[in-house]
């Protein structure tokens, strides 16, 4: 039996590469969930908005890449803050299901807006990553995925450091662990909510720009959000390390099934993984097991 180990290695690297992006988007999701307890189904659409903002500034307005990227990320941050203020804040204290449905409606609004402004066709983002293939041993990795992975890792590290040491990050973690206590310690909880949505939208925007430049840009990009949903459920909704491990795991599973079984099995495999996890550990690999009290 001459199993092609290099190929498996190559496929796994590609899987880890896209897994890094899942982890990044999962991080944005977990941030929002930890601080505000909102399951944000519109995460894929927030990625998409970031990518389209980048397209608007870099391709339509012709700004230099770095400026366009900063503008896109800031624009997404503003969008995140607006979403929080206009849609999420009025729903404070409502049933989680209602807030969840708000984000479902939001994703529909965002998709419609994008189609209205940019049309439903696929668009290409300007290339900004080096295009020489990267060789690791005999395995070849697509440069976009490789640099995308590097960028995602760097950003994840940056976000983690920020939330470890920055004052606002500490406030966020305090709010996440006990809202009432955070209030009584003088933390402005509504501002923390707004801050979280802003930061999460920015992180999502960067993930969106990378995802958009690896494949292409279209209003159906939000489907990416469904895989992100699997990632965070597998890892545990409120666990940052869970999002990272879950992201890499889902990336690997998708890449393996995509190569060895065929593209149509990808979604089947991810969702089977989801069902498996829900059956065995409903709160995810690293999530908090909440105990219901009466």
């Amino acid at each position: 039996m001459n199993f092609d180990w290099w190929m498996l290695f190559e496929v796994s690297l590609a899987g880890l590469g896209s897994g890094g992006l899942y982890a990044l988007a999962g991080l944005a999701f977990v941030l929002i969930y930890k601080a505000t307890r909102v399951v944000n189904l519109a995460i894929g659409e927030m990625l998409m908005m970031g990518a389209y903002f980048f397209f608007a500034t870099a391709a339509s307005l012709g700004w230099p890449i770095w400026l366009a990227m900063i503008a896109a990320v800031l624009g997404s941050g503003v969008l995140g803050a607006v979403i929080e203020r206009a849609l999420i804040r009025p729903m404070l204290g409502e049933a989680p299901i209602s807030v969840f449905m708000i984000t479902v409606g939001l994703s529909s609004i965002l998709v419609g807006t994008v189609e209205l402004i940019w049309g439903a066709d696929q668009l290409r983002l300007p290339d900004f990553m080096p295009s020489d293939p990267v060789l690791i041993g005999e395995a070849m990795v697509s440069p976009k995925i490789f640099y995308g992975f590097l960028a995602a890792t760097a950003l994840i590290a940056a976000v983690l450091l920020v939330f470890r040491f920055w004052r606002g990050g500490v406030a966020l973690r305090a709010t996440a662990s006990d809202q009432a206590a955070a209030y009584s310690m003088g933390i402005d909880v509504p501002r923390v909510f707004s801050l979280t949505w802003t930061v999460a939208a920015m992180v999502a925007a960067i993930a969106g720009i990378i995802v958009g430049s690896i494949s292409s840009l279209s209003p159906t990009m939000g489907v990416f959000g469904l895989s992100v949903l699997v990632v965070v459920i597998v890892g545990g909704l409120d666990s940052v390390p869970g999002a990272l491990v879950g992201g890499l795991l889902v990336g690997l599973v998708e890449s393996w099934t995509g190569t060895y079984l065929g593209g149509e099995f990808k979604l089947l495999a991810t969702f089977s993984l989801l069902v498996l996890i829900l059956m065995l550990r409903p709160y995810g690999l690293f999530g908090t097991h909440e105990i219901e009290r009466l």
Binding site: M101, V104, G105, I109, E264, L268, F271, L274, P282, E292
Partner: protein, 346 residues
């Protein structure tokens, strides 16, 4: 004007329609539904059939989500199961229409029971996500079990035939679809006057208390899933007879979101809400199309129709949740209350 309604017996108190005004208006509505096919043109008949199918399915989801509190995003997939069941039976066995529809409901019910099993361990949003997973897995089966489902090309089926009459026009289909929908609505409305329906409501309000009260959670949650998917299956079967072509793409996740949106907009936990919501959400896109048609440069504006529909769809969900969480049914109740004492108090 109505001052009060004194009820002297328990059966009067439990009655679905307790005042004469209500029964009179119900009669008017029945007459309108009876005469509708004779005055409406083909387009309106088409809409009426579509609305009726959606009402049936939304009512099923309302049993599960509105009354039992188990959020499901798999309703469209269960409709798909029903539609495929009808298509396969019709093509391979040629069994009678009503039997096919019952079988469609039954098959969807079986799938619903399987999907409902996680509902004992996972709750709320986790359950919603589990049903998303189920709907993707079902979509995969539809697309890849080529021998039975015809793969991505799907199945097309001959027009339904009942008592020797070929139901090939909207006018004739109306007489199949509308009575079945009405029957299912009556069934759902009566369900919540029985022990089972009350148990559902108890589970929705507080599942642990319900279990303490002696309601076996697993059995009733599964029952709710089963009933809801039975409704979806029958609706899917009607859908198959109506469009006469079933493909895996006919029942996307968006359609499940549509049904959830319909019961939110209409009002969860109210039969009337399910009806109003499904009617409203089905007609809004058509009204938008009409409005675009009135614009001066209509043919150019048509390009924007699809995105505007998507935005309006999302905005309706968001708007109702923020401003009118109890939905159209609550607006309806408010209007009715206004007329109770009209014209003496406003």
């Amino acid at each position: 004007m109505r001052i009060g309604s004194a009820k002297e017996t328990y059966s009067r108190d439990e009655a679905l329609f307790d005042s004469r005004t209500q029964r009179v208006w119900l009669g008017v509505l029945a007459l309108a539904l009876l005469l509708f096919p004779f005055v409406a043109n083909q387009y309106w008949l088409y809409l009426a059939c579509l609305v009726a199918i959606n009402v049936a399915s939304a009512t099923g989801l309302n049993i599960l989500t509105g009354y039992t509190g188990q959020v499901s995003l798999g309703q469209a997939a269960f409709m798909g199961v029903g539609a495929y069941a009808v298509a396969v039976l019709e093509k391979q066995l040629g069994t009678p229409v009503l039997l096919n529809l019952a079988a469609a409901g039954g098959t969807a019910m079986l799938f619903g029971l399987v999907v409902g099993i996680p509902s004992l361990r996972v709750k709320g949003l986790y359950l919603a996500i589990a049903t998303i997973a189920a709907s993707f897995i079902l979509h995969f089966v539809f697309a890849n079990w080529t021998r039975v489902t015809g793969g991505t090309a799907g199945l097309s089926l001959p027009p339904a035939k009942i008592f020797g009459i070929v139901l090939d026009t909207e006018f004739r289909l109306y007489w199949l679809i509308m009575p079945i929908t009405l029957l299912m609505l009556a069934g759902a409305a009566n369900l919540f006057r029985t022990r089972i329906g009350r148990a559902f409501v108890a589970i929705r309000d507080r599942d642990i208390s319900a279990e303490v009260l002696g309601i076996p959670l697993l059995r009733y949650k599964l029952l709710s899933f089963g009933l809801s998917s039975f409704y979806a299956g029958v609706a899917g079967g009607l859908w198959a007879y109506f469009f006469r072509s079933v493909t895996p793409e006919s029942f996307p996740l968006l359609m499940s979101i549509f049904f959830l949106a319909a019961i939110i907009v209409g009002g969860m936990g109210s039969i009337l809400g399910g009806i109003l919501g499904a009617v409203f959400m089905t007609l809004v896109p058509e009204v938008l199309k009409l409005m675009v048609g009135w614009l001066p440069n209509a043919s150019e504006a048509m390009v924007f129709l699809a995105p505007v529909r998507t935005i309006v769809f999302g905005a309706l969900i968001v708007g109702f949740l923020i401003f009118e969480p109890h939905g159209l049914a609550e607006i309806w109740r408010r209007v009715r209350r206004f007329f109770h004492l009209w014209p003496f108090r406003t």
